[in-house]
Every structure is written in C-alpha cells, then in structure tokens.
Amino acid sequence: MPLQNEPIAEVDNIVRIFTKPLVKPRKGRARRLYGFLKREKRTIRAVDGVSFSIQSGECVALLGPNGAGKSTTVKLLSGILCPTSGEARLFGMDPYRNRTQCAMRYGVVFGQRTLLWRHVPVIESLKLYQKMYNVPKSDFESRLQEFSEILEIRRHLATAPRRLSLGERMRCEIIAALLHKPEIIFLDEPTVGLDVVAKKRIRDFVRRINRDENVTVLLCSHSMRDVEELTDRIILISKGHIKFDGSKNQLKRRWHNERQIRVIYRKTKTRDWRRQLRDTHGVTDLKVTNGQFELTINQDQLAVPTILKLILEVVTIEDIEVKEPNLEDIIRGIFGEDEFQSQTQPKEATT
C-alpha cells in the first residue's frame, strides 16, 4: 500500500511518440513506385512532456478533445505502452517493466471495448478473473453479491454479454474491473452510449467505491455530467500538453468569469432600457426576446448585485435566474467550439 501523502500514480515529463504512415499523393511514376516500395512515415507526439501526480483516494478527470493524449496517458500509466522518454510510476513502480505486479493492483474499464467473453455467461468470465487475481472464494462471492445488488445485474450474470444491452454489459464490465479490490481504477469513457438511467447508476456506483473503499479513480470521459458529478480535480490535456490541472472551482474561476442572468419582465420602466443595460461597463451580451432578456456579464468588471440593482431600476421583474457557468461551456470555451463540438455527446436530460 502506498504511504500516506505518497502519490499512487505519477508521470514525470512523459513523452510518447508514435509513427504513422504518411498518405500523400505523389506526382510522377518514379515517385509513386518509390512510395509503393518505401512508405514514408510521420511522427506524432501523442503525449509531450506531461507531468502530474495523483494521491490515493483522489477522483481525477482527464479531459481533452479527441487525439489530445488522454487515453495514451492512461495506457502509459497502466503499463500498456512504454514511454519514449520521461517516467511513469504506479504504486512506486515502473508500470511497463512491472506490468504484472501493477495489474494485480489496478482495474480498467474501456467503455468502447468489452473485456468479458462475448459468448459465455458473465459469471464464467468473472470466475476466470477470480482465479487470475487470486481472489479468495468468500471475498469473491460477497463482493459479487454486493456489487450485483447495487448495480442491479444479478439476473444478468447467467447471460452472455452479447445478449445484454450496452448498459447491462457496462455494469458487468465495472464489476469485473473491481472484483479484485484494486487500489486505482482507470475508467475510459465508462458511460459512452448509455441512457441517462444507466449513466446515473454507474456514476453513483463509482462515487460509492471511491468514498467507501478509498479507490482512486482516473476518469477519461466526454460526458461533462460524469466529470461534474464524480471528480474533484480536472486535468485538461490538449495536443499532448497539460493545459490545466486543478479543482473544478479553480477551473471555473480561471477560465470562465462570466455569468448569465435571465430575466422575465412584466413591463419596462424606461424607454431606452436596452441601451442602458448594453452600455453598462461589464455587460458583454444582451439578447432580448418576447417579454424576456438574457444578459451576460464579466464578473471581473461588474458585480452581480450591481447589475441586479440596475435591472430593478429599468424593468418590473416577474422572474429572474442567475446561471452558473456549466463545465461543458467552459471546456468548449477553452478548447474552441470546433474542436469540442465534434466530440461532446448530446446534453443529457436531467434524471
């Protein structure tokens, strides 16, 4: 077990370079023939000098657009990949060189790939993992019973994964990753493609094992709801570099100091109320529709009470709402609309 205050996982200036074949049209027969015989390659720095550490019991989100280097970082930490340079340490060991010892102590869930046998009942795959991880039979049975009741999959244990829905299968995958009491769990998009009920069930379960069993969680997800609800700390990664590492509140303060105020009004008190609001220093946007308007202010320049006072002077209010910036908007703002739009999931409905 790691000592108190000693990081359970850390990467220090880690770099991973991939080579990929370069596909580009060539002019001239000789060049095309040469290209056929010898493929040109390009190198990609998937992770480029990333450093961070995770303490035992933390719940950390690794966020970034597609191709940012999140999954590569997780694979470097779990010993699947060997770093080109720099150092990764898990439980104080090099995870690539001590892959077997490290694998005994961590769990992994890949949302887009199954780790269970597709054609045989789930329980048989779980029994295989019991033997693989040397889990005593009594521990295996008690944990299986506990987890399957919480995740409500008891009746699915005798079914083959290929006959299960995605949500049911994913819950089984999570149980498979946790049966051996891992100290850290890597969750790579655990809720991708699931409905809101299944997502909530999984989020509640992950929160529970993090809180009750002190399991450290490293989450890669494009679902901002997962991140909002589960994690305390966010690491933003883009083009292989870390862009931010801190708490959710720090992220909001640093990257998003805007507030939106939505007002439904009964009547206006002044004729040029729109100009009065728009010209106020610190108001960055005003959208007026039938009987209501939405105001965006920069909190560094204008305090919420000040603008509320002004609003009361210019309109008679029926309803008012001051909106906190949500994480998805912040992340979209950081990575840019285009980069982010392609990979976020549709917003979830509230359960």
Binding site: N66, Q112, L115, P121, L128, K131, E189
Partner: protein
C-alpha cells in the same frame, strides 16, 4: 516461475478450457465446417498417396527408412496428430496480427498474466482435438492393417521429439506473427509458415534432396513433426540417433523461443494502438 505461479497457470488453463467449451457450444456450425474441410483435405491427400504407393512399392529414405504404404499412412496420421495438437493450443498465434492492428492487445496487457499465454488460452480450437483422434485412428489402423510393429521406447522418444520440434516450430511461427507490430496484418507470412509445416511435414523428409533435408532439420524444425517420430516409432531409426535429433530439436526450440521473446518484447515497446 515458482510452483505457486505454475499451479495458478494450470488453474487458469482449466478455466479457459471450460470457457472455450462453452464458447464453442455457441459456434457449432463454424466448428463442424472447419472439421469437414480438414477431412476433405486429408482424404484428397490419402487418395493421392495411395495411388502413388500402389505403383511405387517403397520409397527409401537416405538408406535408413523404408516408406511403404503402411509407413506413409502412419506418417500422415502422425502429421494429423501433430497438426491437431498445434491447432488446439496455438491457434491464437493467428490472432496476433488482428490484436495488434485492431487495438485488441490492451485486454491482455492489463491482466496480471503473460499476454501471450492469454492469447493462446483464449483461442483453443477444438477442431484440433478431433484431428488428433483422426490421426490416432490412422496410426492405429494402418499399423494393424499393414502389420507394423510399434516400439514403445521409440514411440515415447518420438513423441518427445514431436512435442519439442512442434514447440520450436510454433515459437518461430509466434515470432513471425509478432512482426505484425511492424508490418501490420501479416497473415500471408503465417500462411507460408503454415504451408511449410503442413505440406512438408506430411512427406518423408529423409527421401528429399540433402539441402532440403538440412534446412528442414537444422533451421526449420519440420523433420521432428512426423518423419523422425514415425521412424523412431517403427524402429527404423536407432534410439541414439533419436536422442541426437531430440537434442537438435531442443536447441532449435530454445533458439526460436529467444527469437520470439525478442521480437515480442521489441514489438510491445513500439506498440502503436490506433485511437483511444
């Protein structure tokens, strides 16, 4: 590897075996289809050799072995046994290029067990065991029909040589499969290796030109798959020569195993999974 690890691996192997049986029960059509194709393939081969040997009474191998109809049938039967065992245990080797190129290797690399052991154990092929039974029946029936005497020490030494030679052959094969880390899907390369094993092993290699014999003895471990075991089993090769061949097979096994481990280790270092 300690005793505890060994017992864990054996327990895992039995669980994998059980899972494979359950999985096979879901894919019966595929199993029977592949068995049927193997039987057709084998039947064509037996018919061809029957025609040849009915016109040419015996083939002499380097002045030592005498290959009559009975001996040749035993040889083909022995190849089936070897190939059946190989197909049962080593079928996973065929999957390596697939796993490497389709991001399937992760699921083996996150487990506290050798990834290659898991690849093999997840891909047991039960059609192989049926081939072993067919091969065994061919050996048994032909030795009765043609009145061949089987020497027990020769049989034991022959089987040991077969297992060692096959280990060497599949270590080479696994090394070739791991070239997928560099060249992607390399099934064509595996097809060549498979052809060398299946096509050459079924023939009495000691009747071939000297250079081919030497290649199939000292570089490619093909002679140990059927020719040497059958010669030992039928008492056509002295046990001392059998021990010599066993030694060479063991050296080849070690050499090709090192080759495989080197390629696999190097490949893992440059493993380049596509996408998240």
């Amino acid at each position: 590897m300690g005793l505890r690890d060994l017992s864990r691996q054996l327990r895992l192997l039995s669980t994998y075996f059980k899972l494979s049986v359950l999985s096979m029960a879901e894919n019966k059509a595929m199993l029977w289809g592949s068995i049927f194709s193997s039987v057709v393939n084998l039947a064509a081969y037996v018919v061809f050799w029957n025609v040849i040997t009915s016109q040419v009474p015996v083939l002499t191998g380097a002045g030592i072995a005498v290959w009559g109809r009975g001996e040749l049938t035993v040889l083909i039967g022995m190849t089936e046994i070897a190939w059946g065992f190989g197909a049962f245990f080593w079928m996973g080797t065929w999957m390596v290029p697939e796993y490497v190129t389709e991001v399937g290797l992760e699921k083996f690399l996150i487990r506290p067990v050798s990834p290659f052991f898991m690849i093999l154990a997840e891909n047991f092929w039960f059609g192989g065991l049926i081939q072993v039974a067919i091969g065994g029946a061919m050996v048994g029936l032909s030795s009765i029909t043609f009145g061949l005497t089987i020497s027990i020490p020769g049989l034991l030494l022959g089987l040991l040589t077969l297992v060692t030679g096959q280990g060497a052959l599949y270590a080479l094969w696994a090394g070739l499969a791991c070239l997928a880390f560099w060249i992607g899907r390399n099934h064509a390369l595996l097809e060549v290796a498979d052809a060398i094993e299946v096509k050459f092993a079924r023939m009495p290699i000691d009747t071939m030109p000297q250079t081919v014999q030497q290649i199939l003895t000292f570089i490619l471990p093909v002679i140990y798959i059927a020719t040497v075991p059958v010669m030992l089993m039928l008492g056509q090769l002295p046990l001392s020569s059998g021990l010599f061949y066993l030694g060479i097979a063991a050296c080849l096994f070690l050499g090709w195993l090192l080759f495989f481990r080197f390629i696999f280790g190097l490949g893992l270092r440059r493993y380049n999974p596509v996408g998240g």
